[in-house]
């Protein structure tokens, strides 16, 4: 639908789009609250209607205009537009974080040094992430006395050496809490708890080779093979557990449908302007 442009034309388009959006946002800002609300509600409804029509109307039917779903060709440009919107949300997140942590540092609040660490991490990751992304990995000089290879090396240290290791560490701490909780909290106080514990033991042992080895003496085929831990585990997961998961998934789907309808029709309390109005 859209044709890419290059060179000076590209920059003119960028400037025109930016100027247009700034003017539009300024205009919207001047509108009274009730008009802003009506506009937001209307746009939300249109956006929901677009995807509903695209999904529910058949791709081809004689009764449709030109025999095809009329909104389907707009799915790709709409996806690109949403990409831009998501880009803005990342920027909004960064601005919000910078404001909160900036205030912490400026007012020397408790733990302000953590906010300094945040700024150091964010700025270094953004700078070296973008820099290495647009720099070939070679021995050529880049800038600030660093070679291109050094820029990549710094980024590797930040991403592989720090980010990956720290992320994995935070998640792995869960294992320690789980082990501790298993000792302190998993108590048989009722028949249901005993049933759950027996199932948990079978699934946990059936997942690992040491557990499977416990019942390796049973025949591989025939009726008795069904009592091997791996088979028992599969039976629990594929029959008992699946029935529960199906029920939960069905409930979530029905709840999600009603929630979507409420958001689409702007019936959800607290959406858009109610929160602000309540605060007043």
């Amino acid at each position: 639908m859209f044709v890419p442009v290059h060179g000076i034309k590209f920059w003119i388009y960028i400037a025109a789009a930016t100027g247009g959006w700034v003017a539009l946002l300024a205009l919207l800002h001047l509108l009274p609250a009730r008009h802003k609300r009506a506009l937001t509600v209307g746009l939300t409804f249109l956006a929901g209607l677009f995807y509903s029509l695209e999904f529910y109307l058949p791709a081809k039917a004689r009764w449709l205009p030109h025999g095809k779903n009329p909104v389907s060709p707009l799915v790709v440009p709409m996806g690109s537009a949403l990409n831009v919107v998501f880009g803005f949300t990342i920027a909004l997140g960064l601005i919000n974080l910078a404001l909160i942590h900036g205030r912490n540092v400026a007012r020397r609040r408790a733990g302000w040094h953590n906010s300094v660490a945040f700024f150091a991490a964010m700025i270094s990751m953004v700078v070296f992430g973008l820099w290495q992304s647009y720099t070939p990995d070679s021995g050529k000089p880049a800038a600030l006395g660093l070679s291109c290879a050094q820029v990549h090396r710094v980024y590797d240290v930040l991403f592989t050496g720090l980010f990956q290791a720290l992320g994995a560490t935070v998640f792995s701490i869960l294992a320690f809490y789980m082990a501790s909780a298993a000792f302190r909290a998993f108590r048989i106080r009722a028949a249901e708890a005993a049933f759950m514990m027996a199932s948990a033991f079978i699934v946990m042992l059936g997942q690992v080779p040491i557990g499977r080895a416990l019942t390796n003496w049973l025949p591989r085929h025939g009726t008795l093979s069904q009592f091997r831990l791996q088979e028992l585990m599969n039976w629990i997961l594929n029959s008992w557990s699946m029935a529960g998961v199906r029920a939960v998934a069905f409930g979530i789907a029905v709840g999600g449908l009603s929630m979507s309808l409420r958001i689409w029709l702007s019936l959800e309390r607290g959406s858009f302007f109610e929160m602000r109005e309540t605060k007043r």
């Binding site: 790709v76 996806g79 990409n83 991403f159 302190r184």
Partner: protein, 278 residues
């Protein structure tokens, strides 16, 4: 700190230390294990075996460092299989930004073993924002949505992308994930176009996928670390899945022992209290 609280703290530290020592020891000295692939893992393997070579496979890498312990070996086992089978594939992230870079590290490390090269045998689409609407658009116009790869090369200039325009040119989507990203693939790709779907997830998420597997909406499931170990057996490679099985076995046994010990202590306390009261 009261005596009871100090005792609880000491017990907690002992548990932490026991788990740490056990996992470290079994990672250093793993015991060779024999794995019997489950039907769900075997089904995914067989589906990939029968895929046409002229179609691209999408590896949806919806994970980051937090679940690398499970999703990393799964990605490795699947890439091993795709390289071995001579299938072109695209690494693609749309949930977590670091995913495509982490998967790229894995593909880069495995490629020399099979004599494969970036650009001809695989491509990295990088991370694309936009969620489910973006996936809907992707099905209709892949070069239009992806535009360029992780290295800023135009998708249309990459040999691995030759002839890839929309969902018709995709042989399979394999969602490797630590989050609930499967629903979107089922709703907007498998449900609408019938593109075959594979699934590799963290152990705790496995049960959620079984209804889809039972309904035939996904072709197979690589569930947790044990799933990747089973997949490695089918592909005929020795990877981290099998190497870490001893650690997982040891951790599971320790947790079972702790649950039993906790219950025995509860029974002892109950008896003591009953005696004191009676």
């Amino acid at each position: 700190m009261t005596g009871e609280r100090a005792g609880a703290e000491r017990t907690r530290h002992i548990i932490f230390a026991a788990l740490w020592v056990l996992i470290l020891a079994t990672l250093i000295w793993p015991v060779p294990t024999r794995m019997k692939p489950s039907p769900a893992v075997r089904s995914l393997h067989n589906t990939i075996e029968t895929l046409p070579r002229n179609k691209l496979v999408i590896l949806s890498v919806s994970w980051d460092v937090g679940t690398r312990g499970e999703n990393g070996p799964q990605t490795s086992a699947l890439i091993n299989h795709l390289f071995k089978g001579g299938h072109r594939f695209a690494i693609f992230g749309w949930v977590f930004q670091p995913g495509p870079m982490l998967a790229e590290q894995i593909a880069d490390s495995l490629a020399p073993r099979y004599g494969k090269h970036y650009g001809t045998d695989w491509v990295n689409w990088g991370f694309k924002a936009g969620g489910s609407p973006m996936l809907q658009a992707l099905a209709k116009d892949i070069p239009g949505v992806i535009v360029e790869d992780l290295n800023h090369t135009s998708i249309t200039r990459i040999p691995a992308m030759a002839g890839v325009k929309d969902w018709h040119d995709i042989g399979m989507v394999i969602d490797i994930t630590g989050t609930s990203s499967l629903d979107s693939w089922v709703a907007f790709w498998q449900g609408v176009y019938g593109v075959p779907l594979g699934y590799a997830c963290t152990g705790v998420m496995g049960p959620e996928s079984f209804p889809y597997l039972d309904a035939g909406q996904i072709k197979g499931v690589v569930n947790g670390l044990v799933g990747s170990a089973e997949y490695e057996v089918l592909v005929g490679v020795s990877g981290q899945g099998q190497q870490r099985m001893t650690s997982q076995s040891a951790a599971h046994v320790l947790i079972i022992v702790l649950i039993i010990a906790g219950n025995l202590l509860m029974l002892r306390d109950r008896k003591r209290r009953a005696k004191a009261g009676g």
